[in-house]
Symmetry: C2
């Protein structure tokens, strides 16, 4: 399967992405000559991971009938960059934060199972980062 | 240097990214239970590359006084996914498409130099993909 993403220059340091028909403005910050008209592109390596694994997990939890007990579900992805060029991620940590609805108890084993299935089987983003030698860690937080 | 990106569940298969204060809705397509309220997360691996190398190249071309001769600059990134889980990119191709303003001639050697500097020295996104064993190729198109 093949995909094509366009990144079109909009003057100065700004560009516009066309991702399957959804348009997003990106820009550099003022310190490097941009105007901060949109986010920077590199952190989308982390965002892509958070979105990919988040969708895997919620999809599995819906099948397990666990999603209806959730008041909130947030995936926080942090990444550590080198200081030398080319500045790239050398480690990433994913925190899966689940908040139960009032009066509901979340089944921890099922949350763990959903996260493991994403990490080991479904998430094609983390697969690439692991192959690249990025140190990948994760934790599950239940509130 | 450390960065944190949040991906917050918005019901069904939709999530909202917070990338340095810029919020973006992502979603799955209808075929897999989503409502297509936003783009999917995985193609942002390609978008991140296009944005990163596009900003490198335009930054260098501004210093070389070449950017003022440009009517348009588009970076097209295509990627080939495996069909097996975890579905991940195995090859990527970047097409740097430069269009000159009416009556201007673009200095091809300078375009080539700017692209090489990004590929070999500055782009931390392609660095990770190369390390992951993804087959990376590129071309320069002048219009």
């Amino acid at each position: 399967m093949s995909e094509v993403i366009k990144t079109v220059w909009k003057g100065n340091m700004a560009f516009e992405w066309d991702v399957n028909g959804h348009k997003i403005m990106i820009d550099a910050v003022e310190a490097v000559g941009g105007e901060n008209r949109g986010p920077q592109p590199k952190p989308f390596m982390l965002a892509s991971l958070g979105g990919c694994t988040g969708m895997d997990v919620i999809s599995i939890l819906r099948k397990m009938k666990v999603s209806e007990k959730l008041d909130d579900f947030t995936v926080e992805v942090s990444g550590e960059l080198t200081t030398e060029h080319p500045k790239h991620y050398v480690s990433m940590h994913v925190n899966y934060i689940f908040t139960a609805k009032n009066g509901e108890e979340l089944p921890f084993e099922k949350l763990k199972k959903a996260v493991s299935l994403s990490e080991e089987r479904y998430c094609g983003v983390s697969e690439v980062y692991r192959k690249a030698g990025i140190k990948m860690t994760s934790e599950i937080t239940v509130k």
